[in-house]
């Protein structure tokens, strides 16, 4: 009797697991884990901060000492065409290459199959102008955000790439700080950039409770320097304000690619 029961349970387990693989049944009323991983690389190699030497398109060699950027406002498009916007309050992440715990956006989305993801690099203008009490977690100006914030021209820094290069006349150092949400009363350059990535070629995300799905993105920092404008540390070693950052923002829209999805 006992044995029959065990066999019965096992068969049921096998059967149900088979069924799950073939035609997953999603319950859109249930939310499940989905993470987006930002794997920072330099060309075809994993990014090695402080040690490895890279070359930009201007022919200057350099090392990277700091890489940090905000990703926020995630939206996922289901294979059935509907979209899911992650609630704003759960939608801000600071990717920090120096902190292994800060390379993923961990989200909750309704169960389903997702064929594309979009997000912005930076912090939207709404949050940039919100009451200080709404700036918590990675947006806390006296916490995680303290070195990602311009105090003298209020606004978050979206993207920070710093390093050393003999080409820089500023003590062999370069600092690219990109920010600018469009301004409060008077308009300024808007360096918020939206990224949309199709997932169908390299694996849609099948989100179901009880398992974790990971969308693995490659982020090629060389593309922030080379592209529409090839940045040169000799001509521009420092970017600490809005307008000079626009060419870098225009470049880094191309730095994200979808590598694979772990379902």
């Amino acid at each position: 009797m006992k044995r029959i029961l065990i066999i019965g349970i096992t068969t049921a387990a096998i059967f149900s697991s088979c069924k799950k693989d073939d035609t997953p049944e999603y319950n859109p009323n249930v939310k499940a884990d989905l993470s987006v991983e930002f794997d920072n690389v330099a060309g075809a190699a994993d990014l090695q901060m402080n040690t490895a030497t890279y070359n930009n398109a201007a022919g200057e060699s350099f090392k990277v000492t700091k890489l940090k950027y905000y990703v926020s406002n995630f939206v996922f498009t289901n294979s059935n065409g509907t979209t899911y916007t992650v609630p704003q309050k759960d939608s801000y992440f600071l990717i920090d290459e120096s902190d292994p715990a800060a390379r993923e956006a961990e989200l909750q989305v309704p169960e389903g199959e997702y064929k594309s993801v979009s997000f912005i690099v930076g912090v939207d203008s709404l949050r940039n102008t919100m009451d200080v009490s709404q700036r918590t977690g990675v947006l806390d100006v006296a916490g995680t955000a303290s070195d990602m914030y311009w105090g003298w021209n209020s606004g978050y820094i979206f993207f920070k790439l710093e390093g050393t290069s003999a080409a820089s006349m500023m003590g062999g150092v370069f600092q690219y700080h990109i920010g600018g949400f469009g301004g409060y009363s008077s308009s300024t350059a808007n360096n918020i950039r939206k990224i949309t990535l199709d997932l169908t070629a390299r694996g849609v995300a099948k989100v179901k409770s009880g398992k974790s799905t990971n969308i693995h993105l490659m982020v090629d920092i060389l593309k922030a320097l080379n592209g529409t404008t090839n940045m040169s540390f000799a001509t521009l070693p420092m970017v600490h304000s809005i307008a000079p950052g626009t060419p870098v923002a225009n470049n880094y829209v191309s730095m994200f690619t979808h590598e694979h999805t772990e379902n």
Binding site: T129, D131, V132, S133, R135, D140, V141, A142, G143, S146, D147, Y149, G151, W152, N153, S154, G183, Y184, S185, S186, S187, T188, A189, S241, I242, A243
Partner: protein, 344 residues
């Protein structure tokens, strides 16, 4: 007999009400933010930060506390001194930590509830976010926000004061910044002679009255009553200095904003010298010399200065005296002496 009773009753009532008065006076000595009747509605969103006694007192303590600087020597009050209407008297440009010099003159902490932007270039719009700039500026206080909050957390006094103010000893950036805002919002100067005249409680002298008329013709477009600023950014023709501060251009990076600075209020001028964004003019006479004979036709000079053959404003010596007499009616000594706003 009847009379006698009446007197007793009157005395009794008086005694009781005097008692009452004392009690309520103690309760009401903190009246919160009071809207002056001759001022417009504030720009600051009080709905997000209603002023309370405990939060204001916390903000006042923070404002005067040198713990907010990296070597614990400089407080906000070091550069914003009450007896100088919260400016840095005697310093053309701010003089901060390790004797480092800034490039701009420290403006008064005054009537900020009505300011639509802060700093000479308007780079900050929300008063709650303002303290981050001096705290992290390396010529001013040269500290970091996380470090300042940690110093407060490790202090003996602050956790209890945050508890009193916010019901929790936890020291957050919001609690810290909003308390500082409360102190600064309470720095209201609205008791000058000019204000009394506007509220029909006093009269200008003949000279002041003539000065007022001249002011309305020549200055009021930019230095607009009753705050004496229209909150706009303009170029009033100062020749660029060695620093070549481009002003508003730093914020917007638009060529049409080069050399524009925020129009400053003209209240309490007798206590806020030196004048202009870099404190280059030491006296009101020097200011009038500038407007009458030294205005330079630099890029974006305000068109109001280009109506005469000579760039600037046409003001005779007699008119200058009248204007100065009027400007003196904007002094508000009670603001400088208000104990509520002093270091305790």
């Amino acid at each position: 007999m009847y009379r006698k009773y009446l007197w007793v009753i009157v005395v009794l009532i008086a005694g009781v009400s005097a008692c009452n008065k004392e009690i309520t006076a103690e309760y009401e000595s903190f009246r919160g933010f009071v809207q002056p009747s001759n001022f417009p509605q504030p720009f600051y969103r009080f709905g997000n930060n209603a002023v309370t006694k405990e939060r204001f007192e916390l903000g006042r303590k923070l404002f005067y506390d040198p713990l907010l600087s990296s070597n614990n020597t400089i407080s906000c009050g070091s550069c914003h001194i009450q007896t100088s209407a919260f400016t840095h008297h005697g310093h053309a440009v701010s003089h901060g930590i390790f004797d480092r010099m800034g490039t701009r003159n420290s403006p008064p902490i005054m009537n900020l509830a009505w300011s639509t932007s802060l700093m000479w270039d308007g780079g900050i719009v929300d008063l709650d976010l303002q303290p981050i700039a001096p705290i992290t500026n390396h010529v001013e206080m040269d500290d970091s926000m996380p470090n300042v909050l940690n110093k407060l957390r490790n202090s003996s006094a602050y956790p209890a004061l945050f508890q009193k103010a916010y019901g929790s000893p936890e020291i957050t950036s919001t609690g810290f910044l909003k308390a500082l805002s409360q102190f600064m919002l309470m720095c209201v100067s609205s008791n000058s002679k000019y204000d009394s005249v506007m509220r029909n409680q006093a009269l200008f002298t003949a000279e002041e009255q003539e000065g007022y008329q001249l002011f309305r013709q020549k200055c009021n477009t930019c230095h607009t009553e009753p705050l004496f600023t229209d909150h706009s950014f303009r170029n009033n023709g100062l020749p660029p200095s060695m620093v070549d501060d481009p002003g508003r251009y730093l914020v917007t990076q638009k060529p049409e904003d080069r050399y524009k600075f925020k129009v400053p209020s003209l209240r309490n001028l007798s206590f806020t010298a030196p004048y202009m964004h870099d404190g280059r003019l030491f006296t009101l006479d020097a200011v009038f010399d500038h407007y009458t004979t030294q205005v330079q036709h630099t890029p974006n000079l305000d068109p109001l200065f280009l109506v005469n053959a000579q760039p600037g404003l046409a003001i005779s010596a007699a008119e200058r005296q009248k204007l100065i007499a009027f400007l003196k009616t904007l002094n508000d000594r009670s603001f400088l002496l208000d104990k509520l706003l002093s270091e305790q």
